[in-house]
């Protein structure tokens, strides 16, 4: 059984994950990385790429990406798109790099996972991204969503498990 993360007296955050749980997490994180990797990488202006600025960067049409990369100006699409052009790439890169770092920790053989505080903080962020992504797939953001009609799909079980896991990491770093 997985054991919740706890803060040790040495300031490390330690928990236990089952091998199958680690496999599920790695798979989800890889999917997240794939989704966040910009499609236009090879078509990008080399200078713009160097300074990290995208060219035309419209709001994503994918419902999951819309939630992961929201508009910064709620009521001003023009300002939102301009801001996105200058910042979206860095936001994607940051999320991808945290997801990849988490995968490399999860690839270790030991079921007991020992994190530094910084690593645990990055895990909490990646787990938030995973829950936002899965929550969007489950329709949790839809105005018509009814929480009392909770589905019993495998995705819902994974989502509930991620909720438990993120809660345990936050509790450990806040303790």
């Amino acid at each position: 059984m997985a054991e919740p993360f706890e803060l040790t007296s040495e300031g490390q955050v330690v928990g236990v994950l089952e091998p199958t749980e680690k496999i599920v997490l790695v798979e989800l994180l890889n999917q997240l990385t794939q989704l966040l990797t910009p499609e236009d990488e090879e078509h990008l202006d080399p200078l713009a790429q160097e300074v990290g600025i995208g060219t035309e960067t419209p709001e994503p049409t994918d419902p999951v990406l819309k939630r992961l990369l929201p508009n910064a100006y709620r009521f001003d699409p023009e300002k939102a798109n301009e801001f996105r052009r200058y910042t979206e790439r860095d936001l994607r890169v940051g999320k991808i790099s945290r997801a990849k770092a988490m995968v490399s920790i999860l690839r270790a053989d030991d079921d007991e996972i020992t994190l530094t505080r910084e690593q645990a903080e990055a895990w909490a962020m990646s787990l938030a991204d995973l829950r936002v992504a899965l929550g969007a797939k489950l329709g949790l953001f839809d105005a018509t969503h009814d929480d009392s009609l909770k589905s019993e799909s495998p995705e819902q079980s994974v989502y509930d498990w991620l909720t438990w896991l993120q809660g345990s990491v936050i509790e450990a770093i806040q303790s």
Binding site: R74, L91, G94, M125, A128, Q166, I170
Partner: protein, 96 residues
């Protein structure tokens, strides 16, 4: 933080509090992020004490949104980007 439909409501700003700082960063409620996580983010990123961070989180949760900081447009753009890194839904706008 709740499953209730998200309504568009004008942000609530305490009178006279941000008069010299024309831009505000607003965090909106969402049905996914944990209350403990939102409080943690407000404490960690903004450096707010637990009491203030918890109050802001509860405002987001119960009122649908909270003004979490104010400052120049550039500062608020930085805050909004940070909130997006944390997976929270934030926007900035010029204070009314």
């Amino acid at each position: 933080m709740v499953a209730a439909p998200i309504e568009v409501v004008e942000p609530i700003v305490e009178e006279g509090k941000f008069t010299d700082k024309p831009w505000i960063c607003i965090v909106w409620n969402d049905p996914v992020n944990l209350m403990s996580y939102v409080t943690y983010v407000f404490m960690t990123y903004f450096g707010y004490p637990q009491e203030k961070a918890t109050k802001l989180m509860m405002d987001v949760h119960t009122l649908g949104q909270a003004v979490v900081n104010s400052g120049t447009r550039e500062e608020m753009e930085r805050d909004v980007t940070a909130m997006h890194s944390y997976g929270l839904w934030a926007t900035l706008e010029k204070e009314m």
